[in-house]
């Protein structure tokens, strides 16, 4: 249970950074933390107490114990790749924004309103 709460706490930290921070790079870092928190959640969902890696070995044939659910591990591989694409795009946007505005402070990057 404590691990689930820690994952939720990490999510909250990331949300805080995205919502409150005014520096673009810190917002990007907040997004990264949110992604990691969700990935961690997926891994935790798959964990079984005392479980071993889901690989069929001779050892496992001899003493079959509980093993962790392999599906979410495959899912987070996909999710990490998606996260990579998102972060690459986000950092590129930050670069271009810095070239245009000369600052990373969101309180100066506000042409749009209404």
């Amino acid at each position: 249970m404590i691990y689930y709460l820690l994952a939720a706490g990490l999510l909250a930290v990331g949300m805080y950074a995205v919502l409150v921070k005014r520096n673009l790079i810190k917002i990007v870092m907040g997004m990264l933390i949110i992604e990691y928190a969700v990935n961690l959640m997926l891994i935790l969902v798959a964990y079984r107490t005392g479980g071993q890696a889901p690989i069929v070995t001779e050892q496992m044939r001899v003493s079959p114990g509980p093993f962790v659910d392999p599906l979410p591990q495959a899912l987070i591989l996909t999710s990490i790749v998606i996260g990579l694409a998102l972060v690459a795009l986000m950092v590129t946007l930050c670069l271009r924004l810095y070239q245009r505005y000369g600052t990373l402070d969101t309180s100066h990057i506000r042409r749009l309103k209404g």
């Binding site: 599906l71 998102l86 271009r96």
Partner: protein, 515 residues
């Protein structure tokens, strides 16, 4: 060539995906090849739609894995409606972009990203697997972030960053919900998930997951408490992309996913009230923010929020009539809002401004754009015989009829719906008056009509607006009612994908799994 449905369904995703990755290659050979290839892909999608038009609902098991294992694609009434809407609007947008995008450099990446977005949306509406749906959603969303920033001017970059951050948070909420739902059911197949959830005792976690999905998909659909990104992102993109975003993306990624999950998968009682409340809120706040706008595209973007409120109200009512009205309005909004954004693109391209105060008298120099813009304005304001009138009428009647469940508050809601429709009319009378009628300003004396390809796609969409209005008695039973029935048929959705419970148990136990 006679293909089975199982062979046709993967093509909906494969054709645009292949086109997206071929475009950078063929562009090395010939400059115009990107345009040609996108046009071919657009036409191919239309042909696929014709192919699946008359067929009954069916599934495709990717790689031959029997559900609940493996990934499956499902085509039922609801998916068919969305697939057809996506194919028709994207084809018009591609034709429009042929000349509109001439003034931009880097057209190769533009068409690649557009094709990726179409592939993602088709995947979202066809997928029968929750994680697969998420992956397709991200494909469509990430390409749309890049497309919003396509102009790389200050405003576009700022809007794209805002859109990206909020979209990324929405995706994380959705993935969090998926993780919890997987821990609850141990499966990702939507139909299998629905059966397990329906069989088990009610669980509080389901409500939490529903809240996460409402937040996540609500952000994608720009419902009112989550709408802040839309009025920046949609106007900042090039006009064809604005049309795609407002006409298709918020529907395929937001509303379709909400309908599928809340009607077919999650067993919930209280969701209806939440959807109605969000719908009414979006409707009213969207239209009030729209009335004061002087930027043509920004005004349209606020109206998108408002019109999505109508769709959500109809869907939230959940009665057969309300759901049919909501889905019909979804189709109609897809057609007339993409037409309006394309018109605004023509106006901006010819005159160089989007400010309504600087425009005027465009009826004379730009007759086709003005005529189609008027058709779309009348449709969105709900003037009979145009398509928006019928769907709004159905939603209003359904809201009033809901008095049996909701009590007298339903009449208030129906009155609000009529009022919002009137406000929409006021706001579009303003557009007509300032942009199309009046005296032509000196500065715009040499304005010319948009190119032939652009006019062609405007006229096609305008004909659809009138056709869906006059032919609503045909479109409703052919298109909308199958979609409504598919959405309301929870058991049918399970049985379409899964074998009967006894066989399933045998398969899971490792028994005879041969077909």
């Amino acid at each position: 060539m006679d293909l089975t449905l199982a062979q046709l369904l993967p093509l909906f995703v494969a054709v645009p995906l292949l086109a997206a990755f071929l475009i950078p290659l063929v562009r090395r050979v010939h400059e115009q090849a990107a345009e040609g290839l996108s046009l071919v892909a657009g036409v191919a999608l239309l042909v696929l739609c014709v192919q699946v038009w008359g067929r009954p609902a069916g599934t495709c098991h990717m790689g031959g894995w029997q559900p609940p294992f493996g990934i499956n694609l499902i085509l039922d009434g609801l998916s068919k409606l969305m697939v057809i809407l996506i194919a028709v609007v994207s084809a018009c947008v591609i034709v429009y972009a042929l000349t509109y995008m001439k003034r931009y450099t880097a057209r190769g990446p533009f068409y690649s990203l557009l094709m990726l977005m179409i592939a993602g949306m088709n995947g979202v509406v066809l997928s029968g697997d929750l994680f697969n749906l998420y992956v397709f959603l991200e494909i469509a969303a990430i390409s749309s972030y890049a497309l919003v920033a396509f102009g790389t001017q200050e405003e576009e970059l700022e809007a794209a960053f805002k859109y990206l951050v909020l979209g990324g948070v929405a995706s994380s909420l959705i993935l969090f919900g998926i993780a919890l739902l997987y821990s609850l059911t141990g499966t990702l197949n939507l139909a299998h998930m629905a059966r397990i959830l329906a069989g088990g005792e009610p669980n509080r976690l389901v409500f939490f997951v529903a809240a996460l999905f409402l937040g996540g998909f609500g952000l994608k659909a720009a419902l009112v408490p989550f709408h802040a990104w839309l009025p920046d992102a949609h106007p900042s993109a090039p006009a064809p992309i604005s049309a795609m975003l407002s006409g298709l993306l918020i529907k395929a990624l937001g509303v379709y996913a909400l309908v599928r999950l809340f009607y077919n998968v999650l067993p919930l009682e209280g969701a209806s009230t939440a959807l109605i409340a969000l719908g009414i809120l979006s409707m009213v706040i969207g239209v009030f923010l729209a009335v004061g706008q002087w930027d043509f595209k920004r005004l349209l973007a606020y109206h998108s929020i408002s019109q999505m409120g109508y769709v959500l109200l109809g869907i939230g009512l959940g009665t057969p009539l309300g759901l049919a009205g909501g889905l019909f309005h979804l189709v109609n909004h897809g057609v007339f809002k993409s037409l309006l954004f394309l018109c605004s693109g023509s106006v901006e391209r010819s005159t160089g401004t989007r400010n309504l105060k600087e425009l005027g008298g465009l009826w004379k120099p730009m007759p086709v754009t003005s005529a189609t813009c008027s058709v779309a304005s009348l449709s969105i304001s709900g003037v009979p015989p145009f398509n928006g009138f019928w769907s709004k009428l159905i939603i209003i009647i359904a809201t009033a009829q809901a008095a049996t469940q909701l009590g007298p508050v339903a009449y208030v809601l129906a009155a609000v719906t009529v009022l919002v429709s009137f406000m929409t009319l006021v706001s579009f009378v303003k557009v007509q008056k300032y942009a199309l009628f009046g005296a032509l300003p000196e500065r715009l004396a040499r304005v010319r009509e948009a190119s032939t390809a652009m006019c062609l796609s405007l006229v096609l969409l305008a004909v659809l607006c009138i056709g869906l209005g006059v032919g609503s008695f045909w479109a409703l039973p052919k298109l909308v009612h199958p979609a409504r029935d598919a959405a309301r048929d929870r058991v049918g959705y399970m049985e379409r994908v899964l074998p009967a419970p006894e066989i399933e148990r045998m398969v899971l136990a490792g028994g005879p799994a041969d077909e």
